[in-house]
Subunit: 768 residues, 2 copies
């Protein structure tokens, strides 16, 4: 076919060892040229996007390449072609490749940024997206749902890409399986770097989801291998596998607050993966198992300290004859040759057992079906500090066969078995986080089909002569590492080189403060001299800003005189106030968020601050989300209300802040509620909020609160309320704690202030 080209066309000749192949390179500089080039493209063509910003580009890349001659859509220089604004990319056809595009400063107008389908008659097969970056290309409203990469068709690939910063509703990557064209897909998601996905404060924040419950009976065969998941904290499921025969191999999950979850579908392979926790987080998990027939082998768990849903190995209870979208019983699962190093109680069985909640949940939500026909064999549990409860059981453990597992601690768990023996084993540190048994324990249990476990985590052969329990067989290669950063992401994007500078602005007038705040770069410190700063407009916080007194012994006083909020928190705003006084005129709030388009989280740190004479201290909008609100060593007085984090009232599991910590602070003469922190809906996919109230004093507050409750925390999962003093607060109830989540009041001093109640089970709205 003769091509009519409006653009420059260069015929390049490549010589391969086997044959000659012609690449026809077509450079395009705008969307019209691009569309024309796509319309006319043939197998072997390379359509080159000129360097620059491609704004509002909605690209439909269609063509029929061949295995030998794919059609390529590439950046003139990788990373120098940015797709911005309201843009997306749809791919339909065969053997199409996309190289080196950089999506940022925008969002998709549809449900997907990159979609392996143009429409039902034009689905991608054998297509590839590689060396691309999608960075914070997120919807302005957290509640608007999209996916960044949506797979359809068969044999498609996402490789060597870097994706980070999705803060809105919806999994980052989604595999779709509706229709015979999309099953047996053998897609590959390989060698990518999944950068941080921030906490979302609600469900639907997975990094990868493979199918959904409605297609969970289909054969998928997607391969997720050699990816690096770095602090993917979107929700409790980093990966949510919801189809059959998926494979997860040699991925690294680094300090990611969640787990690889076999949510629906069966016969997954989880082999050779690395799960690295850290020293303090209890939210970082490992593998959570539901359904049938999975093989979990050669995985390495380091310092995973989560429990229940977030334990290193969480094997759940199912719902008898479960509805399609709930929890099938776990059966016929093999867990073999895994290493658990310095994990706390790594094996947890019948997780999610909730027979005790029969009063508040319908029968179709009661997880009472225990795991059956489970084989746990040839694993090693090593703890430098003895961990005498390697197994936690939430129900009877009668369907698990333990064989030839070794630990170095005594087993004082309720579950005792000859299949987990205590031995005096020791480990040696090879490289970062990598601990290996000093010598192989060569005697292994040979269960049914165990002969298929032929290699260890590093791909070394397991032989009858040289084998070991655990994930690693000695000898380990020189310089073996758990995280090989050369494997992940692009070869051009510098994701680790972004540092914020910390310039200090010394300020002594209101005008200077306003100017400095506008002009400061993220990370700046504004140091205020002693004195009074009158301000008649809001201070906008859209970056990292610290405002601090220049004199540790004196608090500069900021006096707000308009009716507008004192501080307006915008997306990515991160405000730290230290040693300051904030004074209002009773008509404005101290802190508010934008009314909408709070696309990303904000943070608020208050230390040694006096806040007085405001309406509310904090008022937020629906859709806004604070990662952290922290108040310490402060005084808050003569306000109408305190911290109002209560606008996510859809009861869909969403909430307005993840961590709310108030310590060593005095609240005096707050007319209504001191804190209202709300999470509604029966949801288990998030951390669920964290409230710490310790060493505070509350006096003379709540007198105008119509519910006669001083602190509202309904639905928040993690609550600590201890060592506070409540004095002369005319309310009936100080707070209601949730017994089923382990909440209990600590030592509080209560004088003439109502009482702290504990309810065991909270009735929440069912979401499905």
């Amino acid at each position: 076919m003769k091509k009519i080209l409006l653009v420059s066309s260069i015929l390049v000749l490549f010589v391969s060892c086997a044959k000659q192949s012609q690449v026809n390179s077509i450079k395009v500089t705008n969307i019209n040229e691009l569309n024309q080039a796509i319309k006319n493209c043939n197998a072997g063509d390379n359509i080159v996007l000129a360097n620059g910003v491609w704004n509002d580009a909605q690209i439909e890349f269609y063509g029929k390449g061949t295995k030998e001659k794919p059609i390529i859509l590439s950046a003139e220089e990788k990373g120098k072609v940015t797709i911005e604004g309201v843009s997306n990319l749809k791919i339909g056809g065969t053997y199409l490749e996309v190289h080196g595009l950089y999506f940022k400063n925008g969002h998709t107008p549809t449900k997907n940024v990159i979609q392996f389908k143009i429409n039902n008659d034009s689905i991608a097969n054998n297509c590839k997206v590689t060396q691309c970056v999608i960075e914070e290309f997120t919807q302005t409203d957290r509640d608007v749902s999209d996916h960044w990469v949506e797979f359809w068709g068969r044999y498609n690939e996402l490789s060597n890409c870097y994706l980070t910063g999705k803060s809105n509703f919806g999994p980052t990557i989604m595999i779709r399986l509706e229709g015979n064209e999309n099953i047996y897909n053998y897609h590959k998601i390989i060698n990518n770097h999944f950068g941080p996905r921030p906490r979302k404060g609600g469900p639907h924040g997975e990094t990868i989801q493979l199918g959904d419950s409605g297609t969970s009976m289909t054969p998928s065969h997607t391969l997720v291998a050699n990816n690096f998941f770095e602090r993917c904290n979107g929700e409790i499921e980093i990966i949510s596998s919801k189809s059959n025969f998926n494979e997860f191999r040699n991925n690294v999950f680094f300090e990611s607050e969640g787990s690889l979850v076999l949510r629906h579908g069966n016969y997954a392979t989880i082999d050779g993966n690395v799960f690295i926790g850290n020293d303090n987080s209890k939210f970082i998990g490992g593998i959570r198992v539901i359904n049938t027939g999975h093989w979990i082998t050669n995985n390495y768990f380091y310092k995973i300290k989560g429990a229940e849903f977030r334990s290193a190995l969480a094997v759940m209870n199912g719902i008898p004859k479960s509805p399609l979208n709930r929890y099938n019983q776990v059966t016929d699962v093999v867990v073999a040759h895994n290493s658990f190093i310095d994990c706390i109680s790594p094996w947890q069985f019948s997780v999610g057992s909730n027979v005790g909640q029969s009063a508040v949940l319908p029968a179709t939500e009661i997880r009472s079906a225990r795991p059956e026909r489970i084989v746990v064999a040839n694993n090693v549990i090593y703890n430098e500090i003895p961990n005498e409860n390697p197994i936690v059981n939430y129900d009877e453990v009668d369907g698990v066969k333990f064989k030839n597992n070794i630990t170095n601690s005594d087993n004082k768990s309720e579950v005792k078995t000859n299949g987990l023996k205590t031995k005096d084993i020791s480990v040696v540190k090879k490289t970062d986080n990598l601990y290996v048994l000093n010598e192989n324990i060569n005697k292994v249990y040979a269960g049914f089909d165990f002969e298929t476990i032929t290699k260890d985590i590093f791909g070394n052969e397991r032989t009858s002569k040289n084998n070991s329990i655990g994930a690693i067989v000695n000898p380990v290669k020189e310089k073996a590492v758990l995280i090989d950063k050369s494997k992940y992401g692009t070869d051009w994007f510098q994701e680790y080189n972004k540092k914020t500078e910390a310039k200090t602005h010394n300020i002594s007038t209101s005008e200077a403060l306003i100017t400095a705040l506008k002009e400061a770069k993220s990370g700046a410190v504004i140091s205020l001299k002693e004195g009074t700063y009158n301000l008649n407009s809001s201070l906008i916080i859209d970056k990292h800003i610290t405002i601090v007194s220049s004199d540790i012994n004196n608090k500069p006083e900021l006096v707000f005189t308009s009716e507008k909020t004192a501080f307006e928190m915008q997306p990515k705003g991160n405000l730290m106030l230290v040693n300051i006084t904030l004074k209002g005129n009773k008509f404005q709030n101290t802190f508010t968020t934008l009314d909408k388009n709070m696309s990303k989280a904000y943070d608020l740190f208050i230390d040694n601050v006096e806040i007085k004479d405001f309406k509310s201290v904090l008022e937020v909008s629906k859709g806004s989300f604070a990662d952290t609100v922290s108040v310490t060593n402060s005084v808050i007085k003569n306000c109408e209300r305190g911290f109002m984090l209560n606008k996510e009232t859809n009861d869909g599991g969403d909430y307005n802040a993840e961590f709310v910590t108030i310590t060593n602070t005095t609240f005096d003469n707050i007319q209504e509620v001191v804190l209202d922190y709300y999470r509604g809906g029966y949801d288990e996919s998030t951390i669920g909020g964290n409230l710490t109230l310790k060493n505070n004093t509350f006096t003379n507050s709540g007198k105008a609160e119509k519910d006669q409750v001083l602190i509202k925390n309904r639905g928040i999962v993690n609550v600590e309320l201890a060592n506070n003093t409540f004095k002369n607060n005319p309310v009936k109830i100080i707070a209601i704690l949730w017994g089923e989540k382990g909440q209990e009041p600590g030592e509080n001093t209560i004088i003439n202030s109502g009482k702290i109640e504990v309810v065991q089970n909270l009735e929440l709205k069912l979401m499905y």
Copy 2:
């Protein structure tokens, strides 16, 4: 290993073309010798059971054969080794074969007659049962559950066997999938003849069941091919596929009252099967589809006249987010290249839609999810007598893509589509029941993956040059037949040569009657001369017996004087009474069954008989089952109760009779209920009972019936009540009909006798 043999050992040398193989033949004559031989057997051995009856033989056949040298357990002469009494066979090991055994006159003491497993440590793999017969080896109590062949392990085979007459609870063949040892099983059920399985009057009467809902997510890959299913009437599911990836190829379903049902599990292949109905039965079905991803190709349906669950192609509605054991939505199914010849409304969609029953069923039972992403293409519907409603829809049909289907009738269905066109096509009869398009319709729709449909029903190639819609591509081979009896069953069992003789015994005294009844062979006729026959004991009916008057104008009178029942119906008893009077003494019943062990059905035909002065006319036991109770041209009077078929009260879907027909008969002065015919429990797996009451007269009856109901028929599905006269029956209600099942009173004359009620929805006990 040197073998110690207590039995004769013959070393036989076979020479094969490729290599020499030694067969060590060990003949055994009793169970001890057999056990010893099994204990000592080696690869290549043939253990030969001596001809004769092996009574109470519980055989555990264990060994390790090889592919080249299996271990064989065989009959000295096929069919001359009968396994009787309380016997069974368990097989564990590799490459074991069982040849030529004949199970009869007994039942298994365990849950299985033949089990491909001895225990969990000894499971069969690559084992085969061939050339065996299991005939009426059924439990004595219908409610005791067993399987005749239960598969475990992998690669096992049942081939060239004949199985018939299972009348108790439980599928004839069962595939078990619990545990990794039993998945990916690739079992073969091939070339068998499944002889009649009688109606059971309750659920759990499948001929083959592959898994259950609990293992329905496992990969099975069982092949069911080239079998002949002859009048397998056990329940609505002849085959119940409840696992994934099963294949059903080239089977013949001959006049079998049920369907091949894809009950749970997904991705079944149904290719090249034949479904033959007949001219009057509405109970013979075809294929019923539930779940996802099935391919239904090259099947031939002839005179299938069933509707709803029993239609030729029944595509069901699912329950949204169905519980594991209920009804998943139908999605991603292909129905292509099938032929429907002289079927009535062969395509029925959204079968089972029951939104109207919301008042009596919980939400988890409401089938409202319509089929989605269904392709119906290249099929042919031909009707000699025009059938203008080829499609029946029980809900909107919005998820089905019809492409290139042809019919010869006008389509006046509610569902109209360009994808089903009316053309003036014609067919030619080749052999029995085989009708082929006069000429190919070569233009075919090529849907996704349709290139995998490479052959027609007879294995002929479909090519781009020579193809056709429908199951058959011309030219058809000479003498092609749908049913090739040389393929099915054993090479030794004569299943078609059993005829009952019909000798007539001419009788004139009571003693002669008693003697003749004892001595008569099944099928005999006892002809009674005019006169009175006094009988002070019960007449036992355990065979086919006809008792008839020798003179068409005179009724001999049988007068029963003891308190025992007049006639005792035993298993397989089939009594026809013609032109007789039966007189009781008010203390006994006319007909009863055994109290227990009613292992097989009985039948009762009453024509022109006068029955008077009894307690009940018919009293049955729980567990008893009459296929037919037929009364015509008769008079029944002065009894306490009429026909009492009401003892299956577990509400598990069971009932005491399948067909109850009373016509042209007078009931007079029956004190209580005239008929009590009961079926309880919400079950859809049976015909559900049939009651015909036409042209009868009921007078002066029901006066002592405490419920004030004359005729009780609760839960019976098919009821006809027409042209009867009810006069002076002091009851409130004559009968209650079930509107949802289409029951309505015909023209009845009612004088001073209460009324006939219709309730739309019947509240029934849920069974699961």
